[in-house]
C-alpha cells in the first residue's frame, strides 16, 4: 500500500485560500479513517483467518498423528503376533493400549474439538468421515483388539486390513482437513484480496475525492503554468527572435554604416575630383571663350531649340548687332526673310545627323544684318553634345570678298581662255594667213625665174608686183595682230567723252569713201556721253563706220545712221545701215578673229574682233541686228556705272605704231 501521507503540497495561487485547505483536511481525515477501518478489518480477517488456518492445521496434524498411531498399532499388533514369549507380549500389549488410548483421545479431539490444542470442532464433512466406514472400522478394530491375545493369527490378517483401512480413512480425513484448509486459505486469500481491493478502492476513491480538485487545480495550475511557460517560451522565442532580428539589423546597419562611410569617402573624393574638374572646366571654358572671342570668323552657338546661346565679337561686327540683342533669340533672326521658313527644317535635318560639316552644300547662303542688308556667307557646323541636347557651333564666314574674288577669278579665267583662244588664233593665223602670202611670194618668185629662163621678161614684172603686194599684206597683218593683242587692256585714262563729236570726227576721216558710195549719214544730235578710253572708242567707231561704208552701202540709196540711248543700266549706241544685211547664222562669227564674210582684199578681218575686245574691256558688249536684205545695225552697250579693266603693266616695246 502506498503511503499516501506524503502528498505534495500544491503551490496554489492565493485564490485557493483557506477553504480549500479545510476541505482537504476533512477529506484527508475521512480517508485516514477509512483506511484505518479497512486495516482493522483486514487485521481481523487475518486474525480470524489465521485462527482458522491454525486450527485446520492443528487438525491436520492431529490426523496425521492418528495415522501415525494407527501405524504404530498395526506394527505392534504384528509384533505381538510375532512375540515369542509372554514378557514380550505383555510389553507389547501395554504399548498397544497406550497407542489405543492416544488414538481415542485424538479421535475425540478431532470430533469435538479441543481448544487446548486449538482444534476446531469437526465440520460436518469431518463428521461424515468419522461416522463413515473408517470410524466404524476403528470400533471394530478395538473390539478386535480386546480379543487379541487369543486370536493371533487371524487377528494379524484382520488387523493388517483394518490398519490399512484406518490408514485410508485417516488419509481421507487428512485429505479432507487439507482440503478444508486449502479452502480456508483460499477464502482467506480471497478475503484478503477483497480487503485489499476494497482498500485500494477506498483509497482510490478517497484519493480521487481528495485529490481530484487538487489534481484539477494542479492540472489547471500546471496548464496555466504550461501556458505561461509556453507563453514565456513563445515570448522568449519572440524575444530571442527579436533579439536575433535586432542583432541582424544591427549588423546590417553596421555594414550599411560601413558602406555609407565608404560611400562618403568616395563622395568626398569625387567632390574633390569634381572640384578639380570644375576648375579645369572653368579654365577650359575660359580658353574656349577666348578662342571664340578672338576667332576671325563670326561664331554663333545655338541651343538644341534653335536659340542663340553665344556669339563672339566678330558676329556683332558682321551682323551689326550687340550681342545682348542676339543671345536668346531664335537664330532665324540672322536669316533673310525668304529662307526663314525653311531654316528650322534644315536645323532639324542637321540634328538628325549631326556631323561636322559645311552647311547647305550646294546652296548659296545669306545672312541678314541688323540694317537689313544681306551678306553672302559660308557656314561650318559643329555639333556639341550636352546634357540638354545637341548644341550647334557655327562658324560664319563673310564670303563677299571671296565671291568677288571668285567672280574675278572666273572673269580672269574667261579672259585667259579667250586669250588662249586668241593665241590659238595666232597660231592659226601664222599657219594660214601668213602662209598664204608666203605661198604667193615663193610661188611668183618661181614663176619669175621660170619666165626669165624661158625669156618671157615682160611677165616678170607682174610676178614681182604680186610678191610685193603679198609681203605688204603680211606686214599689215602682223601690225594688226600686234595691235589687237594690246587692245584687251585699256591704256589710257578713261574720260567722259562727247560721243557726238567723236563720231563726227571719224566720219570726216571717211568722208572720201562716203562720197564714193553716195551714202547719206545722219548722226543723232544728242548722243549720250560716256566714260571710256578715247583712243579705243575712236577705233571702235572708225571700225563700225568703215564697215558700214564698205559693206552696208551696196544698195541704191545707202544710208548710215548713228544713234544713241541711255537708261539706268546702260548707255547704248548704234551704227545702222540699209545694206544687204547679214544672215543671222553669221552674227556671232563676224566678231571672231579673221572671220570675213566678204571677198574683201583690204580688210584683214580684224576690225569687229577689235571692236568686241574693246567693248569687253569697258565692261560692255557689242552685237549686230540684221538679216539678209534688211540692212544691219551694229550696237554698242556701255554699263551705266563704268567698269573699266585697267592694265596693270604696259608693254611699251610693242607700240611702234599706235
Amino acid at each position: 500500500m502506498n503511503d499516501s501521507n506524503d502528498e505534495p503540497k500544491p503551490e496554489t495561487s492565493n485564490r485557493a485560500g483557506p477553504n480549500l485547505f479545510h476541505g482537504m483536511v476533512l477529506r484527508m481525515i475521512i480517508v485516514v479513517g477509512l483506511l484505518l477501518a479497512t486495516r482493522i478489518a483486514q487485521l481481523a480477517l487475518t486474525g480470524v483467518g489465521i485462527e482458522k488456518l491454525q486450527s485446520k492445521s492443528a487438525a491436520i496434524n492431529l490426523a496425521g498423528r492418528q495415522r501415525m498411531l494407527v501405524l504404530q498399532a498395526a506394527l505392534l499388533s504384528k509384533q505381538l503376533a510375532d512375540a515369542a514369549d509372554d514378557p514380550q507380549r505383555d510389553a507389547l500389549r501395554r504399548k498397544l493400549r497406550e497407542v489405543d488410548q492416544q488414538l481415542d483421545d485424538a479421535q475425540t479431539a478431532m470430533l469435538r474439538g479441543d481448544s487446548a490444542l486449538g482444534i476446531p470442532s469437526a465440520s460436518s464433512t469431518i463428521l461424515a468421515i468419522y461416522e463413515g466406514e473408517p470410524y466404524q472400522l476403528q470400533l471394530r478394530m478395538r473390539q478386535f483388539r480386546e480379543a487379541l491375545p487369543i486370536r493371533q493369527e487371524s487377528s494379524q490378517i484382520g488387523q493388517a486390513e483394518i490398519a490399512a483401512e484406518l490408514q485410508a480413512g485417516l488419509e481421507a480425513i487428512v485429505t479432507a482437513y487439507e482440503d478444508e484448509l486449502k479452502a480456508s486459505v483460499q477464502t482467506l486469500q480471497i478475503a484478503r484480496i477483497a480487503v485489499f481491493v476494497f482498500t485500494v478502492g477506498v483509497l482510490a476513491v478517497a484519493g480521487l475525492a481528495v485529490f481530484w480538485p487538487l489534481l484539477q487545480r494542479i492540472r489547471a495550475e500546471s496548464q496555466r503554468r504550461d501556458a505561461q511557460a509556453k507563453q514565456l517560451s513563445v515570448t522568449l522565442d519572440q524575444l530571442r527572435e527579436q533579439r536575433d532580428d535586432r542583432q541582424q539589423r544591427m549588423r546590417a546597419m553596421a555594414s550599411v554604416m560601413e558602406d555609407l562611410q565608404d560611400e562618403r569617402a568616395a563622395l568626398e573624393r569625387e567632390i574633390m575630383a569634381r572640384e578639380n574638374v570644375q576648375q579645369a572646366l572653368q579654365r577650359s571654358e575660359e580658353v574656349f571663350h577666348a578662342i571664340v572671342e578672338s576667332a576671325p570668323t563670326a561664331v554663333v552657338m545655338i541651343d538644341p531649340f534653335g536659340n542663340i546661346a553665344l556669339v563672339n565679337g566678330e558676329t556683332e561686327r558682321l551682323f551689326g548687332y550687340n550681342r545682348k540683342e542676339l543671345v536668346g533669340k531664335p537664330v532665324e533672326i540672322l536669316v533673310p526673310q525668304r529662307f526663314q521658313a525653311e531654316h528650322p527644317h534644315y536645323r532639324r535635318q542637321f540634328l538628325d545627323n549631326p556631323t561636322t560639316r559645311r552647311m547647305g552644300a550646294g546652296r548659296d547662303l545669306y545672312g541678314i544684318r541688323k540694317d537689313g542688308t544681306e551678306v553672302p556667307v559660308e557656314i561650318g557646323l559643329n555639333p556639341i553634345e550636352a546634357e540638354e541636347g545637341i548644341f550647334v557651333l557655327s562658324a560664319i564666314v563673310d564670303i563677299t570678298e571671296r565671291q568677288r574674288t571668285e567672280r574675278e577669278i572666273r572673269r580672269i579665267n574667261a579672259e585667259l581662255l579667250k586669250k588662249n583662244e586668241e593665241i590659238q588664233q595666232f597660231v592659226y593665223t601664222v599657219s594660214h594667213d601668213l602662209k598664204s602670202p608666203l605661198v604667193t611670194c615663193k610661188g611668183f618668185v618661181g614663176v619669175a625665174r621660170e619666165d626669165l629662163k624661158e625669156g618671157h621678161f615682160e611677165d616678170v614684172e607682174s610676178s614681182l608686183d604680186r610678191v610685193e603686194h603679198a609681203t605688204d599684206r603680211m606686214g599689215q597683218l602682223i601690225q594688226d595682230l600686234l595691235q589687237l593683242s594690246r587692245i584687251g587692256t585699256i591704256r589710257n585714262e578713261p574720260e567722259e567723252i562727247d560721243v557726238g563729236q567723236l563720231v563726227r570726227s571719224a566720219l570726216s576721216d571717211l568722208s572720201a569713201r562716203i562720197d564714193e558710195v553716195n551714202a547719206v549719214v545722219s548722226v543723232q544730235h544728242d548722243l549720250p556721253r560716256v566714260i571710256a578710253d578715247r583712243v579705243r572708242l575712236t577705233q571702235v567707231f572708225e571700225n563700225l563706220l568703215t564697215n558700214a561704208v564698205k559693206y552696208g552701202c551696196r544698195t541704191d540709196r545707202p544710208e548710215i545712221a548713228i544713234e544713241g540711248y541711255a537708261d539706268a543700266d546702260e548707255v547704248r549706241y548704234c551704227v545702222r545701215d540699209n545694206g544687204i544685211g547679214i544672215a543671222p547664222r553669221f552674227h556671232e562669227r563676224i566678231f571672231g578673229l579673221f572671220e570675213r564674210l566678204d571677198t574683201d582684199r583690204d580688210g584683214t578681218g580684224v576690225g569687229l574682233a577689235a571692236v568686241a575686245r574693246i567693248m569687253d574691256a569697258h565692261g560692255g558688249r557689242t552685237w549686230v541686228e540684221s538679216d539678209v536684205g534688211k540692212g544691219a545695225a551694229f550696237w554698242l552697250a556701255f554699263p551705266a556705272t563704268p567698269h573699266i579693266d585697267r592694265a596693270e603693266k604696259l608693254e611699251p616695246s610693242l607700240e611702234p605704231w599706235s
Binding site: 592659226y428 599657219s431 594660214h432 602662209k435 598664204s436 608666203l438 605661198v439 604667193t440 615663193k442 610661188g443 611668183f444 618668185v445 618661181g446 614663176v447 625665174r449 604680186r466 603679198a470 570675213r596 564674210l597 566678204d598 571677198t599 574683201d600
Partner: protein, 155 residues
Amino acid sequence: MATSPHNSRLIRFLLVEDNDDHAMLVERNLKRSTVANSVDRVADGVGALRYLRQEGEFSDSLRPDVVLLDLKLPRLDGHEVLTAIKNDPALRDLPVVVLTTSATEADRTRAYSNHANSYLVKPLDFKLFQQLVQDLSVYWGVWNQPATSCGSDRC
C-alpha cells in the same frame, strides 16, 4: 596645152579659190601639165555651188571632173561647200580635193569627216607646188576612174 599620151580626153577642173595669186599659180601650172585639162575658177563658196548646180550665170557650165577646193572662202566657207556637195545626191560622187594652206589637224579632220576625197596642203616651195599640180592632174586625170562614165551631154 601639152598633149599627153595618157588621156584621150580633157580633164576638167573646177578651182574654188579666193586668192587671185594662188589661183594664178594653180592655173599656170595646170596649163603646163602633161595631162590635158581645162580649169574653171570661182572665187567663193556660193559661186562654187551655183556653178556645180548650173545656176544663174553658170547655167552653161559643164560638170567638172574634179573640184579643187580651198577652205578659206568668203561668203561660204570651204567646209560648208564640201558638205553641200557631199550631201547633194547629184554631186556626191564628184571628187573634191581640198587644196589649202592650212595644215591644221582640225581642218584636215573636219574635211575628211565631211567626206573630202583628198586633202592637199599648198607647198611653199614653187618647185614642189609645180610637182603637186602635175601629180594632181596625172592622178585624177589619168589614173583615177570617175564614178560616172561619160555618156550624158554634160561631159
